[in-house]
């Protein structure tokens, strides 16, 4: 545990140092650019038409040159907040707890050509439960490469790799690292309609958990889960409201052979509405239905059949922007899992409020 915490601390501290270094460097570069671009255009526009045209041309050339300068941009968000969860363990006992959550998102962008942009990002979150400390965890995703390609006005392609890392504070059995290459394409249709397809492959390597053989005995091999994920979504923006429908398919295959516990197919349907009510206030509401069909895992009983789970989630969230940097996001979600294995059924809800600082 100490080693784990120490590694985490070193990684976070290095990220902070790198971040501050880049911020300072980018700041100096931007200040230099700003010095060269005073608001001459406005002043000269009142002199004469010819001069105004020349001023406009100069400024336009400066803007184009700046854009072509291919500078590195940094953006991100830090959030912190508190929440209450009814059933962190997803158990029939429904023992609840409150938690403290904080997260950090960093995103670096650098245009490589007029149509190709590189992005690198980091997302890390820490959830600490007050009493049920077993459920406290840290999740980090590093995206060293994400390429965004816009070959034409209506097409956007993206592809890259996510590296995920999940660590539980007091139990290292479920800890894993994850390798996730992905590719996606979005096409703008008529009006504000768009649709998109996304494919992701993931290989999850458990750090200490062993794969079991058919008898349930641990083998010498670490457990590894492989997953194919496909997603199709279609949506439109109408009067500052985004309506989106999404379908997802997951195919999970694990090297754990104990009843093939983790081999399953998932279908997920999500409908969501995101509305900007005012310039400062947005709301998000969604409904998710997920069917998980286990391929071989049996329910308990004499006439045992393969298990399936139906999970429904309702989510409601709002964001109030105090200004362009600070915002408050309260949210509520309710999840219910029904199954043909009654011992696996549960419900859960989470309410939380997060304060975010964008930069």
């Amino acid at each position: 545990m100490i080693a784990k915490t120490s590694n985490l601390s070193v990684a976070c501290t290095l990220s902070i140092a790198l971040f501050l270094l880049l911020q300072t460097g980018v700041g100096i570069a931007r200040a230099a650019v700003q010095d060269e671009t005073p608001g001459q255009t406005q002043r000269e526009a009142t002199v004469s038409r010819q001069e105004a045209i020349e001023a406009i041309k100069r400024r336009a050339k400066q803007i184009i040159a700046q854009r072509k300068n291919k500078r590195l941009r940094l953006a991100g968000e830090v959030t912190a907040g508190i929440g209450v969860q009814k059933n962190p363990g997803d158990l029939p006992s429904h023992k609840g707890d409150s938690f403290v959550e904080s997260s950090l998102f960093l995103n670096l962008t650098k245009p490589l050509t007029p149509t190709l942009t590189w992005q690198g990002s980091y997302y890390g979150s820490v959830d600490n439960y007050i009493e049920l400390t077993d459920y406290s965890y840290t999740y980090q995703t590093l995206t060293p490469v994400k390429l965004l390609w816009k070959p034409a006005r209506k097409w956007r392609w993206d592809g890259g790799v996510d590296l995920g890392y999940l660590v539980y504070a007091s139990d290292n059995a479920p800890d894993y690292k994850e390798f996730k290459p992905f590719v996606g394409v979005r096409q703008d249709l008529w009006g504000n309609w768009f649709h998109a397809f996304h494919y992701e492959y993931s290989l999850r390597h458990y750090l200490s958990k062993r794969a079991r053989n058919g008898l349930g005995v641990n083998t010498r091999t670490h457990r590894e889960d492989m997953r194919h994920k496909g997603r199709y979504e279609i949506g439109t923006v109408w009067k500052n409201t985004l309506f989106k429908g999404r379908g997802e398919y997951y195919l999970n295959d694990s090297n754990d052979a104990r009843n093939d516990f983790y081999d399953a197919e998932d279908w997920k349907l999500i409908g969501s509405i995101t509305r900007r009510i005012t310039d400062k206030f947005s709301v998000y509401a969604s409904y998710t239905f997920e069917r998980k069909n286990y391929r071989h895992r049996k329910v308990v009983g004499v006439r045992a059949e393969a298990r399936y789970d139906d999970e429904q989630t309702y989510a409601l969230s709002g964001t109030y922007d105090f200004n362009k940097n600070w915002s408050l996001t309260p949210s509520f979600s309710y999840t219910r899992l029904n199954s043909n294995e009654p011992t696996g059924e549960y419900f859960d809800w989470t309410a939380k409020a997060m304060v975010a600082r964008k930069f």
């Binding site: 915490t5 700003q34 803007i63 007029p114 479920p174 923006v237």
Partner: protein, 141 residues
């Protein structure tokens, strides 16, 4: 204690980010937010479009004046003026095309804003879903 240690980097980061040191580091951002920059590009596009239209009208006017002019000397002057105006219009039109092209590579529309907002909500949901999966995994012993 271990929990506190685990949160320490983020807490430290929050202090730096939100405190006076953070404000100093981000001060430059106040002066050059990306949105204001993009708004200026839009402003330039409008200005140049106006000028291109005006120059186009001037060209039409000069063309008709040249046709009506009988004096070869004045006709020659008008032709030179027409050529200058045409060159001016073409150079502005080229800049306009470049700016418009740059504008398309920038996310600035209301559509993009609401899409970005939705992405943030979805990121939270995806993480919660991942957590639920891990919890389910722990139960399967």
């Amino acid at each position: 204690m271990s929990k506190m240690l685990q949160s320490a980097p983020l807490i430290l980061f929050l202090c730096v980010l939100l405190g006076p040191a953070g404000k100093a580091v981000y001060a430059y951002e106040e002066n050059s937010p990306a949105e204001a920059e993009t708004a200026e590009v839009q402003d330039q596009i409008v200005k140049i479009s106006d000028e291109v239209s005006k120059l186009h009208l001037e060209m039409a006017k000069l063309r008709s004046q040249t046709k009506a002019e009988k004096d070869p000397g004045k006709k020659g002057e008008l032709n030179v003026q027409f050529e200058d105006t045409r060159k001016q219009r073409n150079s502005l039109q080229k800049l306009l095309d470049e700016l418009v092209e740059e504008g398309h590579t920038t996310e600035n529309t209301n559509v993009d804003k609401v899409l970005n907002q939705a992405k943030k909500f979805e990121r939270t949901q995806d993480r919660e879903s991942m957590q639920r999966e891990a919890v389910s995994d722990r139960k399967d012993k």
